[in-house]
Symmetry: C2
Subunit: 461 residues, 2 copies
Amino acid sequence: MSRPLPRSFAMSIANFANGSDTPRAFLDRCVAEIEAREPQVKAFTTTRLEAAQKAADASTKRWHKGAPLSYIDGMPIGVKDVIETADMPTQMGSELYEGWAPGYDSASVHALREAGAIILGKTVTTEFAATRPGSTTNPYDVSRTPGGSSSGSAAGVGCGMISAGLGTQVVGSILRPASYCGVYGFKPSLGGINRGGSHDYMSQSVQGVLGASLADCWQVAIEIVTRAGGDPGHAGIIGPPLPPEADMPTTVAFLKTPGWDIAVDGARKVLNDALALLSVAGVTIISADTDSDVTRIEKLLPESLPLTRRINAWESRWPLNTYVDKDESKLSNGLVERLHEAEGMSVDDYRHDILRREEIRAAFASLANKVECCITLSAPDVAPVGLETTGNPIFAVQGSFLGVPTLSLPLASLNDLPIGFQFLGFLDEDAALFAHAAAIENVIGFLKVARDEHGQRYERS
Amino acid sequence: MSRPLPRSFAMSIANFANGSDTPRAFLDRCVAEIEAREPQVKAFTTTRLEAAQKAADASTKRWHKGAPLSYIDGMPIGVKDVIETADMPTQMGSELYEGWAPGYDSASVHALREAGAIILGKTVTTEFAATRPGSTTNPYDVSRTPGGSSSGSAAGVGCGMISAGLGTQVVGSILRPASYCGVYGFKPSLGGINRGGSHDYMSQSVQGVLGASLADCWQVAIEIVTRAGGDPGHAGIIGPPLPPEADMPTTVAFLKTPGWDIAVDGARKVLNDALALLSVAGVTIISADTDSDVTRIEKLLPESLPLTRRINAWESRWPLNTYVDKDESKLSNGLVERLHEAEGMSVDDYRHDILRREEIRAAFASLANKVECCITLSAPDVAPVGLETTGNPIFAVQGSFLGVPTLSLPLASLNDLPIGFQFLGFLDEDAALFAHAAAIENVIGFLKVARDEHGQRYERS
């Protein structure tokens, strides 16, 4: 596997401005990719290709006149099918919502349209962004999962059908599929992007972006926030109108979060090598081996996944109870079990859990006195074989639980399959995280581990 | 006007337990009231009387067996028509949503049904709980507004058609109609009741209760929270499973909030008399006349209404923009103007406004070191004549802006029309506010001002 080169729109805007490329031609390349690969990859539930072509022509005219509506005018985007769209149904991966078409855009989709972006289609989600996988396959190997729950957005970006896809994450639903599909994943700070009109209401859930580059992720997010803000009562993602410039951190924490113990050797190797490269570049790396504050955080993080599951269960009691009233046979066993878990909890149990989450968040926040960001893996391995699960969220859940911005960068491969490096920042410091990740990306390049008959072989490209 | 006696269910549960009354007989009295008065009062958009009768029979059997599902098993309740119900449409006072029936219960309605409450019907709201009034009239005088936006819930409780109605408040939508219709209004702390499945997403909006007594308000709220919690990420209303016992405060602040200057003489008189009674009962009353902390708060509160309007405008940009896309002709001018106001704001303007709100909230919170609660009017006057507006929210907005729990108690009348006293508590101290309000209610009784040919005449009953 050579370094993945999904179809970046953000890196093409100079060409749109100088006329050497056009949004229409860009879209045509995306559509060609859809025609070639969608039968196997199955990233979309619905597409609107003709409307997209008309929109791309209009965008092309605006760029030609030097008056694009924004830096994403003409960008082909997919929208996870839990986020409402006026012109397409929102089916949430559930038979209960088959054909459901409320007829209004979500806050984020409306903002994207105002900015001239092209909503190319709705992308496959697991059932209610939670459990039963959809039909999407991994663009690197159709026998493997794309990850979930933002499966279609990740796979669609991974094979260049779209430049970006909207996703949501409450456990690992952006970072995990980003890691498996070789794309960039951005889970913003809590409340960073307005969730109005999305079926995505949990307390640690956020809307975010899967993109072809860091620049695509930032640009999509900031164009939404400029027009629709964050969640009501939140500042929304704060930062510049174009992607933050690379800014090398002086100190980074390497976090052996839960999952590190089960990460495959190749994954540990590429991450350790990345850290060595950073060290050579002058970055101070602290870890639990040498720093007691990092040790303290690592002792708390094993609570992330079980607390997340309990908090999500309680917060899912509704609407699952009303779904069961409607037609239990249309829900997966996993969701019915989650409802039973919730019904075994009391509101006092929930209060205890969210207070504990607050304590752990405060402990993590204090690390900001020492480091600019943290680094770890996005997943313990490449995408597993089989479509019946979406893989292990053990690494990705940490940022969801902590509420902080996280990024997954596709900077490595094991046996030609992608794996992501995860960067964790601090609450509402999304722009700084992008700046540090951009600088680190420049240093790391792309790391490969291949296994031949003699064992591991390592390349840097 | 004698003291209003709406139909309290909470005060009847001893009779259900001893068999001298039954939920079915209670419901029949409510239905008789609906048959007699609904043609003039127009509190409901939809009723389900037959289903309610069956549910009341089932509840009667449970009480007879000594096994009610909760303390509100059999309580007839109305649900503001921005809150979804599986068996009735949710039309939001808007032509855009005429006949809209998504088919699922909101979190609160599901919890009420689990507790055995009877969802008697959907109650009239202003357009999207915001602007154009619905058809409801004031039960004390059909030429007057019932107040809004929770118009039907207030009017329905006010004339004994229901014991309680769910409402929502982001400006003055619970306390104002409570004041005008002579009922108790409870606006919980921010996040106090789960808003899932309600079209009610703004940052200072909450779901609350209009009820026939303090006990009815508490009981409805706590039965919901026990089963559905507060908003995701919030503790929800914390307190005992039955209404908090009366607890006389030692110190209360009298707040001359914005609106005091325009309050009618009779309203000022009854409030001053109430304060005198409290003083006689041994409660220390502090005010801006004597206390510099109260002065400081009163200097900040004139910002509440303009900041609320700007914050609400920005937070309404979506969905108003997608409603306009759909069919602008079905929106009132007021909502279209609100969208234009939002489109003149930037996300930075909004950030500035919510930061300022935080500062003022923090200043108010510091009063908790000095007083147990604050008291003022709920409205500057009785319900005005005319159905084209829902009256002035200037008093009621303070609690919305501050995010604190507030209660309106119907303890006075001017010329036989009700006016409420407002109690403001501190964040997440809803139970303490109920306890203090109950004690104060016992002291104040009911105050009347009548105007005869010689001017004001004052009675206490």
